[in-house]
């Protein structure tokens, strides 16, 4: 983390800022009306600001406003749109609550939400109102809100210390720090007290005495100072950011993060809060870790739960959390700090206890490492809430062990040693007998841990003394040196016991870690082989249920991004009672929801989005049997690992499907192509023979009667009709398959009209043709063959449905950047109302008509014109007949050679022309 010496902004930081700004641009803006205490006029100020915006025709809606019945505040609500509140039943009572869904549906530009720190009625989507506000902001809605200084999480205990009143409704500092605007409402204590006297400050009924105590002048001054200082800190931050952005006299800091050590002692919340405050003042990231040593592993369940809760609390305040395993807490911490470049350690302060020679935790860290700053923070007294909450977790003992068995076995080993020593006593001296007993102690310590080892030491000394030390069969020792033997044995028992238990603990930790890795590895291996989603679901059940012992379900998104349960739980799997609403929320927001998250924490099920590189594929719902389970960061991380694996596998399988479909499509296209060209060849060949043979009949040697001549002519005509039918069918098939590639070229319309008229020469022989094209019609970009086809079909229609002698007019004009080409006749015209129907496939102008044609012609025209980006329709021509109009977009034609440039074009090969 080198400091940027040349004073230029660090590119990473710039990128970071750009990303933050992009994120912000999509989010709504948050403005907080901030005050030292109730009664300074926050709601009033907020409503006044809203009224001004309303007067400027801004879309402002009141989500919730606590007027506390004050007339002047109520008056401000006049004329503002107010969202109705939602009724929620809670313990038999109906309570009013802000309606988040209604607000999201209404989607105003700005919404007013009073009392940011409010705790929602249980059963609402989020536990806290600030979380509602977060969702509104994420949806791009601007929010105005109000907040008192004592509700800020990091100041909570300070305010509690000053006023003696602890508030439990708090707002994380990051909400305050990330707000776009803070408007401080400041009132001098005297003015506030005056307002209080006039009854202008709302006081809750139940705790009037305490509140009166709260509104002492000293308190008010202190609160005012806190709120001013907090706001000043923010302004200071803004100034710094501004400087960084403008690179004015840059003050670059190396980014040094904080590491908070969470210990087993109560009161760690205060340490966490303090660390959060320091981190935010320094503007750095912070980590919170708990080192689980063998000693701490033996803590009662309730205490371990409290530690995990503390970690979760730190996570909520923005820390990265981890639990580490190691037998020496200090060494593990220092390693962690070094590996992550954390220069400051924050620890709770130890009091000098009953062992005055023992160094405090902070001192011990200081002795081991010289390059780390250690900050000590005074611990809290155990908070009443924490005790209450810890009772919620029932402590099931994970392993029920036979406690007396190791002791019995230790004793048995000692007895075995005694028997062996007795048998060997004729051959060995007393010192070696003692060594035998020492061996017994070592074995007991190594196998059964400290307790049994101590028992073995005591027993060994006793047995050794009783059976072998003269005088034998009595406890009287003739020599005081056997006291030393006893002492050594006890010490050996303790040391070996400790070493062994540490080893066993390390072993267990390694085993656990290896188990997690193995599960991940096996799952990755198995998932890499699957080909269909069903297999993924089965494997997920197998691994997640097997590894964690939980109930789970997977919900997959369909093509409309609606979640569907992947499949009903089969054979013995118990599906959790999934709430599709929460799952959908989790999917839409790509954020975890449900148990142990910020969203609908009341649900017993945890919902995790299955987020793959390209998109979110579905949701994993997990219902833990033991709630504590999800609070352990490692478990949670492993679950996240599984989630990522499942999501990636789902995505991979999805793309396998996509690839297969593509192959099938290519194959079927190739098949269709060869089928079409075979059809076209095989149908035309006999038709050619038919036409030719009919011709040779008619033109052959004379002798055919008039009726025979006529028959030959008829065969010829029918064969040609059949041929045009085949052409139409084949073209339609190609157009429908979308496989006709337009060969667009810039060309004059006149030319294609000419070739169409030439092609329909025979049909139009008895009609009058008039072509009216403006001289300045630009070149158009189209496929000559297909547009000739369109014109031919339209002309053929005109010839077919109008009597001989009818005039057919082809006109073109440039209207609004498109060329409009019409083919009109003055024949009988289309039946009213059939103008659209004639373009449908297999529709003809008249029902049961004797006029030939399958009616595919106009459908082909429509397909061709639309492929060119134009439109085609039928209308009544001015002369009363039918008029078909189609358009072609008029683009910018390429440069055309001016006549004057010809000489240059021809170069030396100039042709002299008189």
């Amino acid at each position: 983390m080198a400091e940027s010496k040349d004073g230029r902004p660090d590119p990473d930081e710039l990128l970071d800022r750009v990303q933050r700004e992009q994120e912000k641009a999509r989010r709504g803006k948050l403005k907080i009306f901030f005050g030292a205490s109730a009664g300074v006029g926050k709601t009033y100020a907020m409503l006044s600001a809203a009224r001004q915006l309303r007067a400027q025709r801004h879309d402002v809606v009141v989500g919730i406003a606590e007027t506390h019945g004050r007339a002047e505040t109520v008056a401000l609500l006049e004329g503002l749109e107010i969202l109705p509140l939602r009724d929620i039943e809670y313990r038999g009572k109906w309570l009013k609550e802000f309606d988040l869904d209604a607000a999201l549906r209404r989607r105003p530009v700005l919404i007013l939400i009073d009392e940011l720190a409010h705790t929602n009625v249980p059963g609402s989507r989020h536990a806290k109102r600030w979380q509602d506000v977060e969702e509104l902001l994420a949806a791009g809605i601007d929010v105005y809100t109000t907040l008192n200084v004592q509700h800020l999480e990091s100041l909570n205990d300070i305010v509690g210390g000053i006023t003696g009143i602890r508030v439990w409704e708090t707002v994380p500092d990051k909400v305050f720090d990330q707000a776009d605007e803070i408007s401080l409402l400041d009132l001098t204590p005297d003015e506030l007290l005056q307002r209080l006297k006039e009854g202008k400050v709302y006081i809750a009924q139940q705790a009037e005495g305490a509140i009166q105590n709260f509104f002492r002048k000293g308190n008010l001054i202190a609160l005012r100072e806190l709120s001013l200082r907090r706001t000043a800190d923010r302004v200071d931050d803004q100034m710094r950011t501004y400087r960084q952005e403008r690179s004015i006299e840059a003050v670059w800091q190396t980014k040094e993060s904080l590491l908070v050590c969470v210990g087993p002692k109560p009161g760690a919340e205060k340490v966490i809060r303090g660390a959060a405050r320091i981190a935010s003042q320094l503007g750095v990231d912070w980590h919170a870790v708990y080192v689980e040593t063998p000693r701490l592993q033996r803590l009662p369940e309730a205490e371990r739960a409290r530690i995990l809760r503390t970690l979760k609390f730190a996570h909520e305040l923005g820390a990265q959390v981890a639990t580490l395993a190691g037998h020496d807490a200090i060494e593990t911490l220092i390693d962690y700090a070094h590996s992550r470049n954390l220069a400051k350690l924050v620890v709770g302060r130890d009091y000098k206890g009953w062992m005055p020679w023992r160094h405090s935790f902070a001192d011990r860290i200081g002795r081991r490492s010289t390059d780390l700053d250690v900050v000590q923070i005074v611990r809290d007294a155990p908070s009443p809430q924490a005790t209450v909450a810890s009772a919620r977790f029932s402590p099931p003992r994970p392993r029920v062990e036979n406690l007396w068995q190791p002791y019995a076995q230790a004793a048995a080993i000692c007895i075995l040693a005694t028997v062996t020593a007795t048998l060997l006593s004729p051959f060995i001296n007393l010192v070696n007998t003692a060594i035998l007993f020492l061996l017994a102690v070592v074995v007991a310590a190594a196998r059964y841990g400290r307790g049994p080892a101590v028992l073995a030491a005591v027993l060994s000394v006793g047995l050794f003394d009783f059976f072998f030390v003269p005088p034998r069969f009595s406890f009287a020792a003739s020599d005081a040196q056997y006291l030393l033997t006893f002492g050594v044995m006890l010490a050996v028992a303790l040391i070996i016991g400790r070493l062994a238990s540490n080893l066993r603990y390390q072993g267990r930790v390694t085993e656990n870690r290896e188990g997690r890795l193995r599960a991940l590895y096996e799952m990755a291996r198995d998932l890499s082989a699957v080909l269909v989603p069903e297999q993924i679901i089965d494997l997920s059940h197998e691994f997640i249920e097997g590894t964690f012992g939980v109930k789970m379900a997977i919900l997959l998104a369909d093509e409309h991004d609606k979640l569907q349960p992947a499949k009903p739980a089969s054979d013995g799997q118990v599906a959790p009672d999934v709430d599709l609403g929460i799952a959908q929320w989790c999917f839409d927001h790509v954020e975890p929801a449900g148990f142990s998250t910020n969203t609908l924490a009341g649900s017993p099920i945890l919902y995790l989005p299955l987020r793959a590189p390209m998109r979110t594929r579905g949701v994993l719902a997990v219902e833990p049997v033991n709630p504590r389970w999800l609070l352990i960061p490692e478990q949670r991380r492993q679950l996240d690992g599984f989630t990522a694996l499942i999501a990636t596998a789902l995505e991979r399988v999805h793309y396998i499907e996509v690839a297969q479909n593509a192959i099938v499509k290519i194959e079927s296209e190739r098949l269709r192509n060869s089928l079409l060209s075979a059809l076209s060849h095989d149908l035309r060949t006999p038709l050619t023979a038919l036409v030719g043979l009919a011709d040779s009949l008619a033109q052959g040697p004379p002798g055919l009667s008039a009726s025979q001549q006529e028959a030959a002519q008829a065969i010829r005509d029918q064969a040609f009709r059949m041929s045009s039918l085949v052409n139409n069918l084949l073209d339609m098939a190609r157009l429908q398959a979308g496989e006709i590639r337009l060969r667009r070229e810039w060309q004059p319309l006149e030319e294609v009209i000419g070739s169409a008229l030439k092609a329909q020469e025979g049909q139009l022989a008895r009609h009058h043709i008039r072509v009216a094209l403006p001289a300045d019609l630009p070149l158009l970009d189209f496929d000559a063959v297909l547009i000739e086809r369109v014109l031919s079909n339209l002309l053929e229609n005109a010839a077919k449905y109008t009597p001989p002698g009818t005039e057919v007019v082809i006109e073109a004009a440039l209207v609004d950047h498109e060329a409009r080409i019409s083919v009109a006749d003055n024949g009988p015209g289309l039946a009213p109302g059939s103008e659209e129907a004639v373009f449908e496939k297999f529709t003809r102008g008249e029902r049961e008509s004797s006029t030939p044609g399958v009616g595919l012609g106009l459908a082909i025209c429509r397909a061709v014109v639309e492929a060119h980006g134009g439109r085609i329709w039928a209308e009544r021509s001015p002369g009363g007949g039918a008029c078909f109009v189609f358009t072609l977009p008029a683009g910018t034609p390429p440069e055309t050679p001016a006549l004057a440039d010809e000489q240059a074009l021809l170069g030396q090969r100039r042709v002299v022309h008189e």
Binding site: T688, A689, L690, G692, G700, P748, G754, E902
Partner: protein
């Protein structure tokens, strides 16, 4: 040679088609020989030295376009292609390979005979001493004099228009693809600039045809090229 009946070779694998083509040509007094496969056809062409070839593009043993290329290696005889396929690229490929004209199946005998006559006339012109004057649709082009008249009045053409017209006149009756015309008139570097060609063709029609939207002689073969039809 003109006093002798011309020999026409028909290479076509379909018996019925071969049959009526043979009958129709013979009725017109031509001498006809037949072949069913490309291999047989090439042998016939080499031994009989026909004056004109009618070639089906969809032969069982070889691609018709290859056959044309082979023939063009040693013969200038007019080739009329019969195609059952509807795609223009096939026709263009055949014309670029050296075919003179094409007929899409199904076709009538009248149409076939007309094309055969045009082809033979081209052949005759090639043998006869160069005639410098060509007339069509009331237009008289004197190639020696570089003089173009319509209904007796001199028509003023730009140099490119004249080059274009002269090319069409020299190849009267033959279908010229866009590519062939562009290479001849504008040079090999302009073979993709089809809109140049279309503009000049339009100008020629306006100057020479009575009704430029319904040309009688300067004909468009949509998607393929142009042909000057001598009436």
């Amino acid at each position: 040679m003109s006093d002798l009946a011309a020999t026409i070779l028909v290479i076509e694998d379909e018996r019925q088609i071969r049959r009526f083509v043979h009958a129709a040509l013979e009725a017109e007094g031509f001498h006809v020989c037949e072949a069913q496969t490309a291999q047989q056809g090439l042998t016939e062409a080499a031994t009989r030295k026909p004056d004109l070839l009618i070639l089906d593009l969809g032969l069982p043993d070889r691609d018709g376009v290859d056959v044309i290329r082979d023939l063009r290696g040693w013969s200038e005889m007019p080739i009329i292609v019969l195609s059952a396929r509807s795609g223009e690229p096939d026709k263009i490929a055949a014309l670029d390979a050296g075919a003179d004209d094409y007929l899409s199946k199904p076709f009538g005998i009248g149409e076939l005979l007309a094309r055969v006559r045009v082809g033979l006339r081209r052949l005759e012109r090639g043998h006869a001493p160069a005639t410098s004057v060509v007339e069509f649709c009331g237009v008289r082009v004197d190639l020696a004099d570089r003089r173009v008249e319509r209904d007796g009045t001199v028509v003023h053409l730009t140099p490119i228009e004249y080059r274009l017209l002269a090319l069409l006149v020299r190849n009267a009756g033959k279908v010229l693809t866009h590519r062939q015309i562009l290479r001849e008139v504008w040079g090999p570097s302009h073979v993709e600039a089809t809109h140049y060609l279309r503009i000049y063709m339009g100008q020629l029609r306006h100057k020479l045809e009575r009704n430029s939207a319904q040309p009688r002689c300067l004909l468009t073969e949509a998607g393929v090229g142009y042909r000057l039809l001598l009436e």
